[in-house]
Structure formats: structure tokens, C-alpha cells
């Protein structure tokens, strides 16, 4: 029998949604002078270690949670001073849009450029001071159910198991954490979230979810090139026809900039490598002018959930809720998910606290959440942006962009119809016979780099002697089907070089270098055969991002 601990609320994941929920729960409890036990488990070695975002943060949610966050020292130090939007025509040329032509949702006055990792570290300090127990280095690996089918809590993974499943010297059995309510705040494509969707059929009434892969680097640049508060967005080159996505470059504090590319995972060309697209993107004069002479400090990648309003699942089920990007609360018209994730956590916290305060012992489904959600600014905001993503998918970046301009600026997102996009991303990939190979330029070691030296900068590490956390349902598929049809695309979409097909005398062999994994979840999303399942490795493993 595993040991167990009892809490009022257990939260899985210390991202903005989980931390905001925890803070809001304790604030209410302290105000009502009621004892409440809340704990958060976080798979990263510390809070923030697995957080990778842009990030331009809209302060709407944090204003509500901590109205005096400025005096409290929240690390939102760089207000946006200038917005620039580009369309890249080729590797040299680009058009800069005049401000008037930019959809309103892409304006950033009043927002802040920040490291979401650092914001989470700060939120965790506040949560601990309010009395929340935070356990970094522990992954929730399993959902526990009551006999009546309601969620009872989670179990943390066993530690100290060898590659072949034996107990090592350091073996420690996982623990059961029981709660009246469990909040799943794992972020995009949470692995427990995925099984909750199935268990409770949460997406029965919603459109297919869509995803993007964001790859990001942090750079130190020469002081004379640094313009704190400058925000640059754009799309077009190097992404070819049939591939949508966009890049960003933000000037943060301390002579640092962040640059990144988000590639929609609905892409069709099996030869596409998001990593190499990003590497060559940095040679475009618009980015190069800032990065040249600088030094790359960190690298990482993370998927984003971008289906928006139409793809939102039911967020409640007996004994728990899905919050943040685990349910897909990101506003794709703004490419912002932080304030919405936080708000969803705060709304969940209100519903949960009210129930517990009224003597509820869990097990029930918090129907009341839906009303709170529907009467919140969060709902209104997501609804207004509902056509943005599907328009881009349907009409391409140019025409879709025009549609979005009209929809967002002239009709304020209130056009009386809704666009739907119901083909899952993994089903979009086409055969290698439909495309020519893409020749990516060799990295120059100054602006562009190879995958391995990039992964090195993510500080990722997994205890080597443990079971592989990337599970293949069918061991043969990578070579028997994915290889002939798509030249096994995992070799290219994985931003960490985890998957390799090695030519051996006996024929090609599929190899998984799981210790390089960045926990971005792309393989779980994009594998055309849906044959790869990402499960939690031993807690504490994975990237150690600094201020990402």
C-alpha cells in the first residue's frame, strides 16, 4: 500500500494557472478565517524550471489577484514601449505594417515584457506565504478515482526505478495525495489532462484542439542595440506555403532579448523542421540587427494550445477541474495565455472555495463554475477571438490576417458567424512523395546553431537509469509505417533531437534519446500515427530554464 496524505485541494502544476488558483484559494480562506490545506506538485526541479513562454503579459489577472503587485515586487519590470509588425517576404525583404493595419488584439500598450518563469517563482513565494505547500521535483503520474468514479486525487511517481523496472538503492515509492478537489494545471497537452478528456468525454461538444510549437532563445546583446520595451512580431518567411506561424523578438531588461518562432502543428510538409526554420529565421536582417554580436544564453521549446473558444472542453468533472492551457484558455488572437490561464485558475478557486466552505466533501461536479466562467471577462475575451485561429488556418496568413483585421477592429470580434476547423493536427501531415526535401543552411555558430548545442543550453537532464518516459504503443510503427511514409517526422519536429533513425546493417533502427527531452509535448501531439505517449519521468528531471 502506498502512503497517502489528505488535503482540501491538490493542484497539479505550478504554472500561472495553478499558482493563481492556489493564491486565490488561500486569500479567500484567510479572509473567511477558515483553515484550508492546499498543495501544489510541480515536476520541474524548482518552480519555473519548466516554464517557457514569450512573454508579453497583460496585467489584467494579476491586477485582480494582487492589486498592489508593483509594491510587492512582482517581476514585471519592462512596460511595452513600441509594437512593430512585419511580414517577411523572403530572407532579406520584409514589409512593416503601419500601426493602423494591425488587429487591435495585437496592440500591447499597458502590457509588460517579462520572464514567465520568474513571474511564477514570484507567485510561488506569495503562495507559500499565504500557506500553500509547494512540492517541486514531484510529478503527478496517475489520477486516483473513488469507487463512484469521481476524482480522489493523484499519485506521485515512484522514484529510483531502473531502466528495466527494478528498484534501485534510492527507490522511493510514490505517494497518494487525496483531496476534496483536484485542479489539473499541467499546461498545454497535460498528460493527466489527456486521460481526463477521455475518462469524462470532456471534448464531446467542442471542436478539435489545435497546437503550435514555440521555440525560444534568450540572448545577451550589446547595450547599444538594446531598446527595452520594443516588441516585434511577424510572419511569413521562412515558413513556406501551407505552414502558418509567427515569430517574436522582445527587448527585456538587462540588455537581454528573447527571440522565438511558433510553428502551427497543422503543418503538412513532412520535411519541415521547426528547429531549423527558427535557426535560419535569425539571419533575417530584422532579427539579425539585434542579435549580431550578442551571445545566446538559453534555449527551449514548449507547445501551445491554440484552438481557443471553439475547442474549449467542459472544464469540470466530479472531484476536479481542468484549468489554464490544460483546457486551452489561451487567446490566440493575442498569442497570450498567461492572464487567461490565471483567470481560469482564480474562477476555479472561487467555485472550489465556496463548495468547501459550504461543507462539501468533494466528489461532486462544480456546476457553478460554468456560470462564473460565462459571466467573466475571460469568456467574453475568448469568444471575441473565436474566429482568429480558424481564419488563419482556412485562408492562410495573408487573407486570414485581413479577415482578422476586419473581424477584430471593425466588428470587435462580434461577426455573427463562427469558423470551425475540425481536422486534428496530426492528420494534416502529407507523404514525403508530395514534397521535395528542404535544404536547411548549415548553422554558422554565431546566429544559428545545431540541435545538440542548443539542447545543452536548456540544462535538461534526466536521471539516466530510469524507464523511458516516451512510450510507443506499437514498437514497429516508427520504422514500418512512419519511416516510409514520412521519413519518421519525429526526427525533425522534436526540438531536442530525442528521436533518431539510425541506419544499421540490419536496416533502419528507431532510437529514443529520452534524457534530452524538453517536455514540450510535440511528439504526443504531432505523431501522425498517434503512437507516442508522453508520460511523466522521475520528478525533477527535464529542463532547468533560467528566466525563460
Amino acid at each position: 500500500m502506498r502512503e497517502s496524505m489528505e488535503f482540501d485541494v491538490v493542484i497539479v502544476g505550478a504554472g500561472p494557472s495553478g499558482l493563481a488558483a492556489a493564491c486565490k484559494l488561500m486569500q479567500q480562506a484567510n479572509e473567511a478565517q477558515r483553515a484550508l490545506t492546499v498543495c501544489i506538485v510541480e515536476k520541474g526541479s524548482e518552480v519555473g524550471a519548466h516554464i517557457l513562454s514569450g512573454a508579453i503579459i497583460e496585467p489584467k489577472a494579476i491586477n485582480e489577484l494582487f492589486p498592489n503587485w508593483q509594491e510587492m515586487g512582482a517581476p514585471l519590470n519592462t512596460p511595452v514601449t513600441e509594437d512593430q509588425l512585419f511580414m517577411f517576404l523572403n530572407e532579406q525583404k520584409s514589409i512593416q505594417f503601419p500601426n493602423l493595419c494591425v488587429p487591435k488584439t495585437m496592440h500591447n500598450q499597458g502590457n509588460y515584457i517579462a520572464s514567465l518563469g520568474n513571474v511564477c517563482r514570484w507567485l510561488a513565494e506569495q503562495a507559500e506565504q499565504l500557506g500553500v505547500e509547494i512540492f517541486p521535483g514531484f510529478a503527478a503520474s496517475e489520477i486516483l478515482y473513488h469507487e463512484d468514479g469521481s476524482v480522489k486525487g493523484i499519485a506521485t511517481g515512484d522514484m529510483g526505478i531502473s531502466e528495466y523496472g527494478q528498484q534501485k538503492d534510492s527507490y522511493m515509492q510514490g505517494m497518494e495525495l487525496h483531496a476534496k478537489y483536484t485542479l489539473f494545471a499541467e499546461g498545454c497537452r497535460g498528460h493527466l489532462g489527456k486521460s481526463l478528456y477521455k475518462q469524462f468525454d470532456l471534448d464531446a461538444k467542442s471542436d478539435e484542439q489545435h497546437y503550435g510549437l514555440g521555440i525560444k532563445e534568450l540572448w545577451d546583446i550589446p547595450a547599444d542595440k538594446h531598446q527595452p520595451g520594443l516588441v516585434i512580431h511577424g510572419s511569413g518567411w521562412p515558413l513556406g506555403k501551407g505552414t502558418s506561424g509567427g515569430f517574436f523578438l522582445y527587448h527585456t531588461e538587462n540588455n537581454q532579448v528573447v527571440a522565438g518562432l511558433i510553428v502551427d502543428l497543422s503543418y503538412q510538409n513532412p520535411y519541415l523542421s521547426p528547429f531549423d526554420e527558427f535557426q535560419r529565421l535569425k539571419h533575417h536582417p530584422v532579427l539579425k540587427q539585434y542579435l549580431e554580436g550578442g551571445r545566446r544564453i538559453s534555449y527551449g521549446a514548449r507547445a501551445i494550445t491554440k484552438g481557443g473558444f471553439n475547442a474549449l472542453p467542459k472544464m469540470t468533472f466530479p472531484g476536479g477541474l481542468l484549468i489554464g492551457c490544460n483546457s486551452g484558455t489561451l487567446n490566440f488572437a493575442k498569442i497570450k495565455g498567461t492572464h487567461t490561464a490565471m483567470k481560469s485558475g482564480m474562477l476555479a478557486a472561487e467555485a472550489v472555495f465556496e463548495a468547501i466552505n459550504n461543507g462539501c466533501e468533494g466528489r461532486k461536479e462544480l456546476m457553478d463554475f460554468d456560470n462564473r466562467f460565462k459571466s467573466s471577462w475571460l469568456y467574453e475575451e475568448l469568444k471575441q477571438s473565436r474566429n482568429f485561429g480558424p481564419a488563419m488556418h482556412k485562408f492562410g496568413t495573408m487573407l486570414g490576417g485581413t479577415f482578422n483585421f476586419i473581424d477584430q477592429n471593425i466588428f470587435g470580434g462580434k461577426l455573427p458567424f463562427t469558423l470551425h476547423d475540425n481536422k486534428p493536427d496530426y492528420a494534416q501531415l502529407k507523404s514525403i512523395h508530395d514534397y521535395d526535401t528542404i535544404e536547411y543552411p548549415k548553422p554558422d555558430g554565431k546566429l544559428s546553431f545545431d540541435k545538440l548545442s542548443s539542447v545543452f543550453l536548456s540544462n535538461t537532464n534526466h536521471e539516466e537509469n530510469q524507464p523511458c518516459h516516451l512510450k510507443l504503443t506499437d514498437l514497429q510503427i516508427p520504422i514500418s509505417y512512419n519511416f516510409p511514409a514520412f521519413l519518421e517526422p519525429a526526427q525533425r519536429y522534436c526540438p531536442a533531437g530525442v528521436y533518431e533513425v539510425i541506419e544499421e546493417e540490419t536496416g533502419p533502427k528507431f532510437q529514443i534519446n529520452s534524457q534530452n527531452c524538453l517536455h514540450c509535448k510535440t511528439c504526443d501531439i504531432k505523431d501522425p500515427s498517434q503512437n507516442i505517449t508522453w508520460i511523466t519521468p522521475e520528478g525533477g528531471g527535464g529542463p532547468n530554464y533560467p528566466n525563460m
Binding site: 496524505m5 526541479s45 524550471a49 520572464s115 512540492f135 506521485t156 534510492s170 555558430g445 540544462n459 533560467p546
Partner: protein, 249 residues
């Protein structure tokens, strides 16, 4: 018997150290910090001795800014009983650390002091030795095995080409090597309990130690980057390059 264990907060071994632009030091802003791995082994060894009944109490001490309380809490979660933080603004140089620790030893009177052989940030490998000298105590460095036999502690040391076992009178100082043990993970209930275990804060002034500066950090440089390799087409070309470009033959 009481065991005193020293622990240091250092940059996490998974994190790639980065030199500051002005070469003045390693840049630790926003980097993940952790318990020095050799200190973690020291804590584990002390807890095992306590579990075996050979020791009754494990006290951990750390020197540094307030943040190092995190490493003391980690040690308490692993099973140590109480903690002492000696508050300093920066990480002290080895001799100052040894002087501060000597005062703690005088006050605590432990039967055994277990330390990491070195910290992975500065790689000095000297604080244990200095402490032994200051206290005039026997020392067993680079321990790969520690046993209490009668009134003595037997320490097996990794030396060039083999193992050496020595017996020390107690109180003694032992510094740990990598193969001494495989530290356990802290369990959730123990992490919660650790938050309530006693931790006292002292200052160098409280201990009557004057922090003198003996050494000065002049410069830190990143290793020179390796040049990319080249392919040669023939043995003649290889020899030519080795002779004229690399100038090694």
C-alpha cells in the same frame, strides 16, 4: 553521539555555468541552485549512521546568505534533526568557513564531523583539511566507506591505484567521495515536517570570527571554444596539416 554535517549551496550540477560579461565571476542570476552533491552524500552518510543506531543526532550547518536555508531544509527533509545557518552576505573563502565551523564544533561538541570533500562551484578541496588543523583533529579525506568500530571511525579512502583504510580517534573529520553512498530522495511528508524542524541563525560576530580577506578573485574565463573539426582527403594532407597548421609533429 552527535554528528555535525556541513552543507553548501552551489549552482546545480545540471546547469551550465556562464561567465559574466566583465569576467568578474560566474553569473548566478536566475540560475538553479542546489545542495552540493558531496554535501548531500555527507548528509546521507550521517542519516545512515543514525538509522543504524551509531549516532543519536544529526545537525547540519550552512554558511551563506538567507537563501542557503533552502539547502538546510533539504537536509532536514532527508532526515537531519536541526539546522544552523551562519549568515554572511557572500560565500566566504575556505579559511573563513573553516574558522566559523570551528566555533560551531566547539559549541556543539560532535563526535563526528562529515563534510563534502569539495564544493562543485569552487573546487577548493581544503575546508575539511583546514578545519582539522584548526581543531587539531584527525581527518579521513575522500571517504568511500565509513564504519564505526569500537571507539574509532574506520575510513576507507580512494587513493591512486587502490583503497586505503585508516582508523581515526574521535572526534574526527571525514570528507566524502562520490562513491560513499547513493543519497535518498526526500519524501513529501518529510519535506513538510522539515519546515517545522528547528533552524537557528547566527552571524560571524556572534561566533567571534573576524572575516579577513586572504584571497581575491581576479578573473574568471570560460573555456576556449573548441574549433570545429575538418575532414581531410588523404593521409598526406593530414600529415601536412599536423606539421604546418597544428604544428604538433
Amino acid at each position: 553521539m552527535k554528528i555535525l554535517v556541513t552543507v553548501k549551496r552551489v549552482i546545480d550540477y545540471n546547469v551550465k555555468a556562464r561567465v559574466k560579461a566583465d569576467n568578474s565571476d560566474v553569473d548566478l542570476a536566475n540560475t538553479k541552485m542546489a545542495l552540493n552533491p558531496f554535501c548531500e552524500i555527507a548528509v546521507e552518510e550521517a542519516i545512515r549512521l543514525k538509522e543504524s543506531g551509531a549516532a543519536t543526532e544529526v545537525v547540519v550547518v550552512s554558511i551563506g546568505p538567507k537563501a542557503c536555508q533552502e539547502q538546510i531544509r533539504t537536509s532536514l527533509a532527508l532526515g537531519a534533526d536541526r539546522g544552523i545557518q551562519i549568515e554572511t552576505d557572500t560565500m566566504p573563502e575556505s579559511l573563513n568557513a573553516a574558522k566559523l565551523l570551528a566555533k560551531v564544533v566547539e559549541a556543539e561538541q560532535p563526535g563526528l564531523i562529515i563534510m563534502g570533500k569539495q564544493a562543485i562551484d569552487s573546487d577548493n578541496n581544503q575546508t575539511g583539511q583546514m578545519l582539522a588543523a584548526l581543531l587539531d583533529m584527525p581527518q579521513g579525506t575522500f571517504a568511500s566507506k565509513v564504519e564505526l568500530i569500537g571507539e574509532k571511525v574506520h575510513v576507507t579512502r580512494e587513493v591512486d591505484g587502490g583503497l586505503q583504510t585508516i582508523a581515526l580517534n574521535m572526534p574526527a573529520i571525514v570528507t566524502t567521495d562520490l562513491r560513499l553512498n547513493e543519497p535518498r530522495y526526500a519524501s513529501l511528508p518529510n519535506i513538510m515536517k522539515a519546515k517545522r524542524k528547528p533552524l537557528v541563525v547566527q552571524t560571524p560576530v556572534d561566533l567571534g570570527v573576524e572575516m579577513k580577506t586572504h584571497t581575491q578573485l581576479v578573473k574568471v574565463e570560460a573555456p576556449t571554444e573548441r574549433q570545429a573539426g575538418i575532414k581531410v582527403n588523404s593521409i598526406e594532407e593530414l600529415i601536412e596539416k599536423l606539421q604546418n597548421e597544428a604544428k604538433v609533429i
